[in-house]
């Protein structure tokens, strides 16, 4: 999906899922966790690292693919479309309608991950609001109690 030098993307293997379970149980405990290096050096995890690690192993124990990338990462329109679950063509039109900021690298459009996530959030909220309005209409018209028999 996302292809860039800065991006790390991994899907846990079967035995790693079990390890992720154990790591997660360790990380959710109260108190400070630490890493011990191969040379025996021990470093306490800073709170921000602890938080991100916990989030990563939480999803890995569910077998999910994880990508870690900075908010300033520039994404191709295909990567952005994949992240949203829409077609590339649709996403390009959204860019051109200025629904979110984008820039050009040569002839290729690029969007910042941060901008994309903002757009995604706005879009999801608008969808939820729309569903509530549709449901209100269905309810007012009494359509939930109606069954429309199929043709044939």
């Amino acid at each position: 999906m996302v292809a860039a030098a800065e991006t790390i993307q991994v899907t846990p293997r079967e035995q790693e899922i079990e390890q992720a379970h154990r790591l997660y149980r360790m990380l959710v405990q109260e108190g400070i966790a630490a890493l011990i290096g191969p040379d025996g050096e021990r470093i306490d995890l800073p709170p921000s690292v602890h938080l991100i690690l916990m989030r990563v192993v939480e999803k890995m124990q569910e077998g999910k693919t994880i990508a870690v990338l900075p908010l300033t990462e520039e994404l191709s329109t295909q990567a952005a479309a994949d992240l949203l679950g829409v077609s590339r063509q649709f996403f390009v039109r959204e860019c051109e309608a200025h629904k979110l900021p984008f820039s050009y690298t040569g002839t290729h459009r690029r969007v910042l991950l941060g901008d994309l996530l903002d757009y995604k959030k706005r879009r999801e909220q608008a969808r939820r609001d729309s569903i509530v309005r549709i449901a209100r209409q269905s309810e007012e018209l009494g359509d939930y109690d109606k069954f429309v028999p199929p043709e044939e």
Binding site: V86, F90, I131, Q137, L141, Y144, K146, V148
Partner: protein, 132 residues
């Protein structure tokens, strides 16, 4: 995402308010990707008017909501040549409960259908995709 499989939602599904509104919620949660066409929406509107006596204003309200907030569900090009392959297939594993044919097509295509066993299959598919 693991649940990124498109489902062509037909008019016979969209006219049932209860089913439609639940599907929209599942789509919003990205448990599947809903797809439809202009023709499907036109047929939905026609049926809502003819069979439920809905006014133009009432159907416009619904269609505008869909257009404004679910525009990615519209399949615009290249689907017409796929229509012959979108009928419910006659082969494939049958429903364990009632023996009806499976409506799954290949790995990534499902034709959402109204019949209850097929809805059960759809639910089953979602459970499998999400490994619930």
């Amino acid at each position: 995402m693991i649940s990124d499989f498109p489902v062509m939602v037909d008019a016979c599904v969209l006219v049932q308010a209860a089913v439609r509104d639940i599907l929209l919620r599942l789509f919003e949660r990205r448990l599947f990707l809903a797809r439809w066409t202009d023709e499907i929406i036109e047929e939905t509107v026609r049926t809502l008017r003819d069979k439920l006596g809905r006014t133009q204003e009432q159907t416009d309200y619904l269609v505008n909501e869909l257009r404004n907030h679910f525009p990615d569900a519209w399949v615009e090009q290249g689907y017409r040549e796929l229509i012959p392959s979108m009928t419910n297939p006659r082969e494939g594993p049958s429903c364990p409960r009632c023996g009806r044919e499976n409506t799954l097509r290949g790995d990534r295509e499902v034709l959402a259908s109204l019949e209850i066993c097929r809805c059960a299959q759809f639910a089953q598919l979602i459970r499998e995709r999400l490994a619930l």
